[in-house]
């Protein structure tokens, strides 16, 4: 029988491991306390308990993701064979290290895996949601504003994706075999153009006719957008595929150091694309609905009479006035994306079998034998995922309340 620190030891160990998170949370609260008035709606979030709890839960996981290296005692993939299926609070007799949430079937530290899992979830989910939003906005605004044929075609395709059962979509889109085809790269390459396109049109409509501002803004957009695009697409599999097809010059271009500043794992890119693809139509529908609603307001008619271009009206008159519902939806959607990522991991799609993301950890812990005898292996990541989604839902609720009060 292994030595155990006991329930009290687990709680104190848990609390002290997260010291950078508590520090940052305290700093955030001090800042908010002093600058509440200047922060607008985000300051007013702290008027309700729901808002405070939501912010705490979300920031807790954000800081955990940032400081994962400091918090987690071990690498999430490292196996300490003596700690196989160890109960929570067990002390490794060789090193004296405590496994706060016990060990799993492969003798890895469950606590470290959960902490590192936050990093995966909190990079993919918000980023994918952001791109899905830019795609949805760029397509939803014209669909709602112009109506007619553009609307019918775009809506048809959006409904097509929405009618597709999510799980089947992922099974088809995220199989390892699909990396051998052009499909994910074509899809990803197309979807990742939308952010650049959005900001390009945004600045173009704003600064049209004022060349001193127009040129630098557009140049910056194109360079930044292109750089991010290249970084996202420069995965080893895509380069190999390009080289096979005889397009070595594109391959070697993507191989440049400046295009590999943030390297993306091919599996993660695939998941990222699938998640963006699955959630963009939902955003499209919401933006389209909001556009149809706001379009009838007087200030839109005023802008039309002033002779503003349609895209100026959409981006600078309609969009700012739709921000309330969109911010709320973004919070909910990040939560939903987190759930989707969990589902992917749970079915062993995309993420590697060793990956510490919560879905995969939950899958490992939900094997019948594991759940019967070593329940903590599944319960710890399940509670982590639940608390993050709960935080996002609470945040969305509080934001909705506050924006309705305006």
């Amino acid at each position: 029988m292994m030595e155990n620190v006991g329930a009290f030891g687990i709680i104190t160990g848990f609390a002290s491991s997260f010291w950078p998170v508590w520090l940052c949370l305290a700093a955030v609260f001090v800042v908010i306390y002093f600058f509440k008035k200047q922060l607008g709606i985000f300051g007013r979030l702290f008027n309700s308990n729901v808002g405070i709890l939501g912010v705490i839960l979300c920031l807790f996981w954000v800081f955990t993701a940032i400081f994962a290296d400091v918090i987690a005692p071990l690498d999430p993939r490292v196996q300490v064979s003596i700690m196989q299926n160890a109960v929570p609070g067990s002390i490794n007799p060789d090193t004296g290290m405590v496994f706060l949430f016990g060990g799993d079937l492969l003798a890895r530290d469950v606590f470290s895996r959960v902490v590192y899992g936050a990093r995966i979830v909190l990079t993919i989910a918000p980023a994918a949601t952001m791109i899905a939003f830019l795609v949805g906005i760029t397509l939803g605004l014209p669909a709602g504003y112009f109506g007619g044929r553009i609307d019918s075609i775009l809506s048809f395709f959006a409904n097509l994706v929405l009618a597709f059962p999510v799980i089947l979509l992922f099974y088809l889109l995220v199989t390892p075999g699909i990396m051998e085809t052009w499909l994910p790269y074509a899809l990803g390459g197309g979807l990742f153009v939308f952010p650049t396109l959005f900001f390009f049109v945004l600045f173009y409509t704003r600064f049209y006719g004022r060349n001193d501002k127009l040129v630098p803004y557009l140049a910056a957009t194109v360079i930044a957008g292109g750089w991010i695009w290249m970084n996202l697409m420069s995965t080893s599999t895509f380069i190999a595929k390009l080289n096979d097809a005889g397009l070595t010059w594109i391959g070697s271009l993507l191989n440049w150091r400046i295009f590999n500043i943030f390297g993306v794992d091919p599996n993660e890119l695939n998941i990222f694309i699938a998640v963006v693809f699955a959630s963009a139509p939902g955003v499209f529908r919401i933006v389209r609905g909001l556009t149809l609603d706001i379009q009838t307001r007087d200030y839109v008619a005023a802008a039309q009479t002033r002779g503003e271009t349609p895209w100026y009206i959409m981006l600078w008159e309609l969009l700012p006035n739709a921000r309330g519902p969109l911010i709320v939806d973004a919070c909910l959607r990040i939560g939903y994306t987190t759930i989707l990522l969990g589902t992917l991991g749970f079915f062993g799609l995309g993420m590697g079998p060793e990956s510490p993301d919560w879905g995969t950890t939950i899958k490992d812990g939900s094997q019948v034998a594991q759940l019967r005898l070593y329940y903590w292996q599944g319960v710890a990541p399940a509670l982590a995922l639940m608390s993050l989604v709960l935080g996002l839902n609470l945040l969305a609720d509080a934001l909705r309340e506050e924006s309705l009060r305006d």
Binding site: F156, N159, L160, L162, A163, F164, P165, V166, I167, L168, Y171, L172, L173, T175, P176, G177, I178, E180, T181, L183, G335, I339, G342, T343, F346, F347, G359, I362, G365, S366, V368, L371, R372, L373, Y375, G378, V379, A382, L383, L385, M386, V389, L390, L392, N393, L394, D397
Partner: protein
């Protein structure tokens, strides 16, 4: 009304055609076909053998011809046995005919499952029935609970009941099926031992409280929070409307007002939400059936997709798309019927 229906049915047919085409394209991607060839031939075969197998069974024919075969516009060809030179059925275990016949989805033939070595039409109805039973119990539990909670919360907005019910529903709507399944199983099956952590015996020995509660509970929990919140919002809105105030002012009791005036109007919005919840439940079904090893539609879908069982994946895809589209249609029509202010034109 008829024109509206015809229009919707036309769009539905078009959607299904497009989606079946997309799914067909995906399952026939080169890596997927290779995977199929590996599972269908002996384990250690050369690439040439795999290629041969694909060639012989018609997987190398023109894409559109194959799609036509599946949908039932082009004749399915039998295979020439290399040893005897005679025409033999493509998949013996599905008793496919050994002559060329036009037999596809239009004719009601959903093809042959290569993973289960059986006809799709033998597997699918059984699985759908099992899932139907599960869904029935989920609905029986979920809808009344959600509606009662929502109405109670929305009846007096801001009261203590409202706040506690709202907190519960926000927590449950943050709990996806695979999370609640684990928490419930750890608590009720492993910890307390009250319930069975597997629903496999429900297929063979019949449904009992012991083996069926966990799957039903797991699926209901996620939906309850969402529907209750929608009902609450709708109820709260109705309670502030003019006619409720009039009813209260003329001296009607609170109970009477809620039951006679508020309830009907408050339940219109949740109806739509419940119907639109079906596609969500589909994902839930897949998760729950796989966790509790209940061999229904979701279990079949996962097995078909992970084995690249072409015909079965297509059939499952079609079935789920039909479910999604039909529920959308019902929700639109039902909304129009329930709400006297909306007339479909």
């Amino acid at each position: 009304m008829l024109r509206f229906l015809a229009g919707r049915l036309y769009v539905m047919a078009l959607t299904m055609l497009c989606l079946s085409f997309v799914v067909f394209y995906f399952v026939n991607l080169e890596p997927n076909l290779k995977k199929l060839a590996v599972t269908q031939t002996e384990m250690r075969v050369t690439d040439a053998d795999k290629e041969n197998w694909l060639q012989r069974n018609g997987f190398r024919d023109n894409f559109f011809v194959r799609y036509g075969r599946w949908i039932g516009l082009v004749a399915k060809q039998p295979v020439v046995d290399p040893a005897t030179g005679q025409m033999v059925p493509r998949f013996r275990y599905c008793d496919e005919p050994s002559v060329a016949t036009v037999s596809g989805v239009i004719q009601g033939d959903f093809g042959c499952s290569t993973a289960f070595r059986d006809k799709v039409s033998n597997r699918l109805p059984q699985a759908l029935k099992a899932t139907g039973i599960l869904m029935f119990w989920v609905m029986i539990v979920m809808i009344p609970v959600a509606l009662i909670l929502g109405v109670l919360a929305g009846m007096r907005e801001g009261s203590r009941t409202d706040r506690s019910i709202s907190s519960v529903s926000i927590v449950t709507s943050a709990t996806p099926e695979y999370v609640s399944a684990i928490l419930f199983t750890a608590l009720f099956a492993s910890g307390l031992g009250w319930l069975n952590g597997s629903a496999a015996s429900a297929m063979t020995r019949g449904i009992s409280f012991y083996n069926f509660t966990l799957p039903v509970m797991t699926m209901a929990v996620y939906g309850v929070g969402y529907i209750a919140r929608m009902t609450r919002a709708s109820m709260a809105e109705v309670m502030t409307s003019q006619y409720i105030r009039t009813a209260r002012l003329k001296g009607m009791g609170f109970r009477q007002v809620v039951l006679k005036h508020a309830l009907r109007n408050a339940l219109i919005a949740p109806f739509t939400v419940i119907m639109l919840q079906f596609p969500w439940l589909l994902t839930g079904v897949v998760v729950v059936e796989n966790i509790f090893s209940y061999k229904g539609f979701g279990w079949l879908l996962v097995n078909a997709a992970s084995n690249n069982d072409i015909d079965l994946v297509l059939a499952c895809g079609i079935v789920s798309v039909i479910i999604v589209l039909v529920t959308q249609l019902i929700s639109d029509i039902g909304y129009a019927f329930l709400n006297p202010r909306i007339r479909v034109s």
